[in-house]
């Protein structure tokens, strides 16, 4: 039965070429763009390597020194440094207000008070991105270095291509070693082959390459650094205070524990930090931690709200409504077109009904026909998506993100295609199935 419908759908597509073209144009473009969006979401927020454990991440990038005020005067003083709020002392006119000094963490605080939490399976402390100019044959290249620890490799699941990562012993011994991405190796050495054991001159120091991992272009700098160096090598003399510094903390939570539980433990850890260190800036009374999941942190990086969960829900709604708006028009268009097209075939429906087809038969026939058409459009759209993805990857148009084509992406694309076919076929099919046989057979007469 289905094969008959498919055969029929194919012939009808071929017979009305102009209308097939109009339909396919809409379908393929819509699905193509949707696939690019899917690929972006899957690459950035999916769980493909190196974000295998992404759903277990809890991320802490800020230590906030805070003081609450009552009966305040109006005054605003906010400083953003590299897009991150550093100091925020916005006061409200009435009621309470607060003054915050936000900055990244000192590694001492992170090691002492934040690295031994009950719900955390792994903890990594690192400087997420430190840019270094490197001159290769007189041409400047900028490398983004992550100063990390051995745990980093257990949380961010980079695909190792060659060699190994550094261990705690090398950390403690301040070994001059680094692990490089294949892309950066090629940029620096001109080749990916045989770079193990060679030296890279970064920030005035020669580091020996001990391992190489596959480059993945992700927007979050700590997920795809160019090089990774043990953080004991970093110049830490310039950290602001006992409290503030250059470091972020990334947790991988234990299986079966909720992220909220781990967040609570991090928030609670703030109370154990002494507030009497001489380097503490004056006037601040409390420490506040605002740990985030990966998705929340991601949303906050794109759209800043002090509470990352708010950023996340805002981003979510923006994306959902944009996609909805984008899909609804072509769907309506296709529905309109299908309704007109199907009307042409009312006598066929009359005959089918006279010979015993019931409404379900008619509905499924037209939906299958529409799905055939959508799959065809989906294939063209897929080609379009590949071209677009290739263009985006080459030009780095999406904040230098590299869009991946993973099996999950194929699966989702296929699902979206079928869904689109059903959605745009349902109304016309339903309308058709309601047709009275007697009237259907009489068509084409005034």
């Amino acid at each position: 039965m289905i094969s008959n419908y498919i055969k029929l759908a194919w012939r009808i597509l071929g017979r009305k070429k102009f209308f097939t073209f109009i339909s396919l144009f809409g379908i393929s473009f819509t699905l193509g763009i949707l696939m690019v969006i899917l690929s972006f979401l899957q690459s950035e927020l999916g769980t493909d390597k190196p974000l295998t454990y992404k759903n277990d991440f809890v991320y802490l990038n800020t230590l906030s020194l805070k003081t609450d005020f009552f009966d305040t005067i109006v005054s605003i003083d906010t400083t953003f440094l590299n897009d991150e709020m550093v100091l925020d002392s916005s006061f409200e006119i009435k009621g309470t207000g607060s003054m915050n000094w936000n900055s990244e963490l000192n590694n001492g605080i992170a090691e002492e008070y934040l690295s031994d939490l009950e719900s955390a399976e792994e903890v990594s402390i690192f400087i997420p991105s430190s840019e270094h100019d490197v001159y290769v044959n007189g041409v400047k290249q900028t490398f983004s270095a992550l100063y990390g620890d051995p745990s980093y490799w257990n949380i961010i699941d980079h695909q190792m291509l060659e060699g190994r990562v550094f261990d705690q012993k090398e950390m403690d011994a301040v070994a001059k070693v680094l692990v490089v991405s294949d892309k950066s190796a090629e940029n620096y050495f001109g080749t990916k082959e045989g770079v193990l054991g060679k030296e890279m001159f970064i920030d005035g120091t020669n580091y020996k390459v001990i391992g190489m991992y596959a480059h993945t272009g992700k927007i979050m700098p700590y997920v795809s650094p160019d090089i990774v160096i043990p953080y004991t090598n970093a110049n830490l003399d310039n950290q602001d205070s006992f409290y503030h510094g250059f470091f972020n903390v990334l947790y991988k939570k234990k299986k079966g524990v909720s992220a909220d539980k781990l967040k609570e433990e991090i928030v609670y850890a703030a109370t154990r930090i002494p507030m009497d260190h001489p380097s503490k800036p004056e006037g601040y009374e409390d420490i506040v931690f605002r740990p985030n999941t990966y998705d929340e942190d991601y949303a906050q990086a794109i759209y800043y709200e002090r509470e990352a969960s708010k950023s996340y829900s805002i981003m979510k709604w923006i994306i959902i409504s944009l996609i909805a708006f984008f899909v609804i028009l072509p769907t309506l268009n296709l529905i309109n077109l299908n309704v007109s097209r199907i009307m042409d075939r009312s006598s066929e429906i009359g005959v089918r009904k006279a010979f015993g087809a019931h409404r379900g038969n008619i509905i499924s026939q037209f939906i299958i026909e529409n799905i055939v058409q959508t799959i065809l459009g989906g294939l063209i759209g897929f080609g379009l998506a590949l071209a677009l993805i290739n263009m985006i990857n080459k030009g780095g148009y999406l904040m230098n993100a590299r869009l991946e084509l993973s099996p999950k992406f194929f699966m989702y694309s296929f699902l979206v295609t079928i869904l689109f076919g059903i959605l745009s076929g349902l109304l016309p099919a339903y309308k058709m199935s309601k047709l009275q046989i007697v009237n259907a057979l009489k068509e084409n007469k005034l």
């Binding site: 809409g26 605003i76 953003f80 270094h132 007189g138 028009l329 309506l332 007109s340 042409d344 005034l446």
Partner: protein
Amino acid sequence: MIKHVLKLLWNKKASNALMILEIFLSFIVLFFVLSYVFFNLGKVNQPLGFETIDIWKIQLDGVEQRDSLEAVTTLQNLKTELLSMEEIEAVSFTESIVPFQNSQWRTGSADNGFQMTTLLVPVDEDLKKVMGLNITEGRWFNEDDLNSSMKPLIVNQEFIDRYYPNKSMVDSTFILNGDRKIIGVIDQYRYIGEFEENHPTVLSIAPYFQNMSAVLLKMKGNTPTAFEEKLSQRIANTTKSTGNVIVDLEKERIENSRESWVLIIALLAICGFLCLNVALGLFGVLWYNINKRKAEIGLRQALGANGFDITKQFILEILVLTGIAILIAIFFTIQIPLLKVTEYPNSLFYKSIGFSTLIILILVTICALFPSVQAAKITPANSLHED
């Protein structure tokens, strides 16, 4: 005629409702995309207020954190060193607030009797020379300003327009973290980026070599990029620090705006596709409908309608349909400026409504024209006898 057309449309309201919905949604999409694009292009079209060509920026690596006396000496040496190079014409030292860095200092107070919010930029007296800032009134900073009892400020025109409109404020004082005196006005200094709005901005002279973390250099024209490596070496030698980063400001300007341009172009492309898609769909539906109504057309012609009447009737039908959809859409979208839902200027939304209406009407007319002309060619003989 109109009455007749309205009657025809009403009798087929179910299928026409879908068409109206489609045109309505197209209008809404167009409206938002155009508003977004007009708003951003409006920002880009304003001058930045400073030069970017042949200007290099150096991010110093942690010099500012050192013991202040040592830092001051180091930076003083660095300045002498930089000025001694013949490729460099002028040097300005600043704090972390430099162009395209996404760093900003926002400050404000209500001490002047109204709520004032402004961007604050600490600068040195050389910034004007390096960046080519344009003083429209008053004067630029000089060395004595550092020691004057009332801290001098230079404000941008937007600051004047917003807080002291139609007044000459040079030599006036106001309160902003203490008493301040305005000594000059610049047209603008939109250092955050081309897509940033023109905020009220205040320049304040900062004491030399304290908390300095960036250097802006005015280079001689046609300085080869290879000079960067040499420069980097010299800076490293002087500051005893290797992590300095040199950036060409023009390149950074392009890089900084790229994401916004990508978004604008992507939105326009997608919007264009949606319009084309809707237009083609509309065309298809009309073509079908007219074919389906061949008998009706034949009958009308048999009853004495000529080709022009037929074309007119079909175009009128679709235009009435479109008109209804546009009216509904305008009713909704016009609430945004009327109710002042956003802080954006009303003229922006009126402009978008106008353009959306125009685009949709043009598209629809084109789509209706061809099938309607086809319809007029139908003769009573072949249409009434068709089976």
